[in-house]
Amino acid sequence: MPPPPTPAKQRASRIALTYYSKPDALTLWKVAAAGLALCAALGWVAYGALVPDEGAARVSHGPLCQAHATWDTQCDACHVDFQPIRADAWAVAWYKSAADRADLDRGCRRCHAGPAHHAAQIPAEVGTCASCHQDHRGRQADIRRVADQHCLACHRLPADHSQRKPDLLAVTSFSADGHPEFRSLKTDPGRIKFTHKRHHAAGCVLHPDDMVQKKLADLDPAVRDRYRQQGQSDQDLVQLDCHSCHRLDPADATATAGDASWAAHGSGAYYLPISFDQHCQACHELSYEAGTAKPVPHGLTAAQIDVFLQDAYRREFLEENPATLEETLPRAVPGRAVRPAAPRGREFIDAKVRQAQKHLSNRCGQCHYFEEEAPTSLAVQAAAIPQVWMKKAVFDHAAHRAVSCRACHPRAFSDAADASVHETDVLIANRDVCLECHQPAQQEATSALQVGGARHDCVECHRYHAADQAVHGRGSPLRDGEHEFLIQEFFNAAAADQAR
């Protein structure tokens, strides 16, 4: 039976004409997911905006360093709204004047002075604080450890980046090719007749066959043990070593010297200053009469020595001639001058003083140079021993205490072939010795030893701020901020701004 004819309407109605007006399940799911995503994103942002601490944590690019951790959620402690803080932000170009640029750092300047690098630097080339000290790198980040590129930007071509066009050599890295020798070690400014060879030798002699050799028995018993090496008797020769005079820890010095001021000197970075009273007097007694124990305090000027000697001999004269105190002057007769007392005492004192001056001049001249050469001159030139040799860099002896002194100061030892015999010799190692450790780790060509590997970036030795005062300490006024705050002001940037 043939199929009956089918109405076209029935054929067309197989699918409703308005099917597209009803979304399918996939479309509904898509719309629902879109709505959910919109709400979630808006909610997340809104919650951050309404809860400041939470918002700051979300916007922050990372935790602040340990020193700044208190202000982790106080963005305005450092940031000024809608003002760039980093020098590499292109918008810094809008801030042309030095005052405007300084204003970008006002968050930092609340607490930090940030003294200038150099008087001759070009102000327009000085970035903001954050251009070098980038924070938000985690609690353990050291934001003082600035990358070399910041320094090399100028020091590659120093003449192009200074107002004075200094005759400085270019620096590209800490290496034999990239860093000049240390300028601070060109000459020894000290004016002391001292040789390490003599003082390091047994008996403190320059040559082994010298007749006068110092024995422990020659020293004051009070300080004898200080110079005694293990197993030595009083009849043994004095054998000094580095630590006989050079002390790193103030506690060592105070134990023997009783000078409490030394305790404040160091953090172990630099050796304590050499002092006559502590390090020289045991051998170099400073008596103003030969063969007696009549010491003159060390460090007096020529005029002060004169006064000291005058007083000492007046006292001595009076002690020897007490009747002088009872002597009366003759009554004055009108028209005649009073005859002065006999000059016997004055002559005695003057003679003694001259004799003592001559003796002292010999004693002082053993170590010091005089301002002018004369038999009784006591005006000595300043010792000028540098307490810190590196004028533009820092060095930490405590960090190097595991390394032998000989490694960096070989000529200070009497058994060295080129041991120092002139006081003008500079006995501190220069760049090449530093490079043995402070370079990228590598295997030595002649052996299997691995050398190098210690830090060798610029800030390992150099400081940017107040660079010519490299050793100024943490308490230096150079580091002080513009204001001092109460505790609540210190922790709250808004309150701090009000206080200013």
Binding site: P3, R14, I15, A33, A89, H150
Partner: protein
């Protein structure tokens, strides 16, 4: 719809040039700035090249996002450019945001805080889902063209399947000498009821092939011969109601043996062996409907792959735009 043509890139050439030139310009600008500036780090978002790349990337992302509202009927009425142009721009400008965003955050790949990390994760997810969707759109339409001659409108798959089941039931019951029950079914709406009431024929989609070309046509099939033997009629009814009808209605969800094409072929061969030759055209018809139902299942799966990625791409894009606006505000406030 194939976004990329099969042979050559044709109309995409202009956009590819835009992408390449944009990438090259951004790379040159960034690298020149990086190697001529004194900063120790790679330029970041606040540097000149980083800022420019960020602004461009942000603008492009907003433009890309506008593809969605553009589909809204009210916005579509504005007729802003041709859809093909929008889609090409969406693809290539979207890819251009990748180098721009990389140069914006800097080559040290420090993604910053929660907001920027979220932003970057969303960005990469959006890019990845977009590329995934683009790839699917190159493959699946062709696959559907080849494998789904019985393809119908996705949202009407269930409706058409139910219609087929009803038509099949009509023909089977008439072949067994019984009346259709569909006319009284409560679940039918008036339109459907009119279609199925007391008719002795079926309107069915039939897949036809001419050479390598396949297609479907809507045809009317008259009732087939009647089964005289009650035992055979019972077998036919049981086979239909136990296996065929559930599958025609529910597809793979019926957990039927007909889901598998091989087993289905064996099933229908078995039916043919049990039934007289006069009934074989009916069996043929039932097998065609089963094949069509299998294609509907495949069509649904492919449709989900073809369009399902958008259900990820779009929500992520919305979240991306919201966080992007927040990022712009906070970045300028604390740059």
């Amino acid at each position: 719809m194939l976004l990329l043509p099969r042979k050559g890139l044709g109309l995409h050439t202009r956009w590819i040039v835009v992408f390449l030139v944009g990438t090259l310009a951004a790379s040159l600008g960034y690298l020149i700035h990086a190697f001529t500036s004194s900063t120790a780090r790679w330029p970041g978002g606040s540097s000149l090249p980083g800022f420019v790349c960020g602004v461009l990337a942000g603008g492009i992302i907003l433009f890309e996002f506008f593809l969605w509202p553009r589909k809204w009927p009210r916005v579509r009425a504005w007729r802003i450019g041709r859809t093909q142009v929008w889609l090409r721009a969406h693809i290539w400008l979207g890819l251009l945001t990748v180098p721009l965003v990389i140069y914006h955050h800097g080559l040290d790949f420090h993604w910053g805080g929660q907001l920027t990390v979220m932003l970057m994760v969303l960005f990469w997810c959006v890019i990845a889902s977009g590329i995934f969707g683009l790839a699917l759109q190159q493959v699946i339409p062709r696959m559907m063209f080849d494998a789904l001659p019985a393809e119908t409108i996705y949202s009407q798959v269930g409706h058409v399947a139910r219609q087929n089941a009803r038509d099949a039931e009509d023909l089977v019951l008439k072949a067994c000498g019984a009346e259709s029950t569909w006319g009284d079914a409560d679940e039918l709406d008036a339109e459907d009821r009119e279609l199925v009431t007391a008719r002795s024929y079926a309107i069915a989609t039939t897949v036809r092939s001419v050479g390598r070309t396949q297609g479907k046509s809507l045809g009317t099939d008259a009732a087939f011969a009647t089964v005289e033997d009650p035992t055979v009629a019972l077998y036919l009814r049981q086979s239909f109601f136990d296996d065929i009808k559930p599958y025609l209605e529910l597809g793979h969800r019926a957990d039927s043996r007909l889901t598998d094409a091989t087993r289905a072929t064996a099933f229908y061969e078995g039916m043919r062996r049990r039934l007289d030759l006069e009934i074989h055209p009916l069996v043929e018809k039932l097998q065609q409907w089963s094949d069509a139902r299998r294609q509907f299942d495949l069509q649904s799966r492919l449709h989900h792959w073809l369009h399902g990625w958008l259900a990820i791409h779009l929500p992520l894009s919305i979240a991306l735009v919201v966080l992007l606006l927040a990022h712009v505000y906070y970045a300028v406030k604390y740059w």
